[in-house]
């Protein structure tokens, strides 16, 4: 994968404890799955950086390779790939996500 894209992704996940690669922005999501994850983070009242992959085609494809994950959104917490919409939803419902966030905040 493109070195420049890799560096951009690494910079984002190193500089932001909670990083959401998504379609659209947290306030104007462009896809229901991205909206669902952004809303969960809002409900949990945590600050996060939303990165709009629709603004950069290289980033949109690059993040899939970087995480070895074929879909968007993708959530990173403390540089660790947490998962996509299904996993985040499940972790929210069973309380795991709250525990993970508690540890880093």
């Amino acid at each position: 994968m493109d070195q420049q894209v890799k560096e951009l992704i690494e910079k984002e996940i190193n500089n932001n404890k909670i990083c959401l690669f998504m379609k659209g922005t947290p306030d104007a999501p462009q896809c229901g799955f991205s909206m669902a994850v952004a809303n969960i983070l809002k409900i949990l009242n945590v600050e996060f950086k939303g990165i709009n992959v629709l603004e950069d085609q290289n980033l949109r494809e690059g993040i899939k390779k970087f995480s070895e994950w074929p879909t968007i959104p993708q959530l990173y917490i403390n540089r660790e790939f947490i998962g996509g919409c299904d996993i985040v939803k499940e972790m929210y419902e069973n309380g795991e996500l709250k525990e993970v966030l508690k540890k880093i905040l």
Binding site: F33, W69, P70, T71, G84, D86
Partner: protein, 81 residues
């Protein structure tokens, strides 16, 4: 470009012969599905690994022919972790 339930099920079944698979067409448009897969192959694997195994079984169709597939994985005879 779309896939039907049978095609998705066939691919998943090939990778998880022991699995119980339930696929729903969420919007009735042949584009948005959910799949619940219960297999012993998931035991001892993290949620991310489990979902990756399912994506792999779809052989690159996820994100291309297959636009949206919500995945729920469960271990057979195990907890739903």
């Amino acid at each position: 470009m779309a896939m039907n339930i049978k095609e998705i099920e066939t691919l998943i079944k090939k990778a998880f012969p022991d699995a119980t698979i339930d696929i729903q067409d969420l919007a009735g448009d042949g584009n948005h599905y959910s799949a619940t897969i219960i297999s012993s192959q998931f035991s001892g694997k993290s949620k991310i690994e489990q979902h990756k195994m399912v994506y792999n079984s779809l052989k690159g169709k996820m994100g291309n022919e297959l636009h949206a597939l919500a995945i729920k994985t469960k271990e057979k005879n195990g907890s739903t972790s």
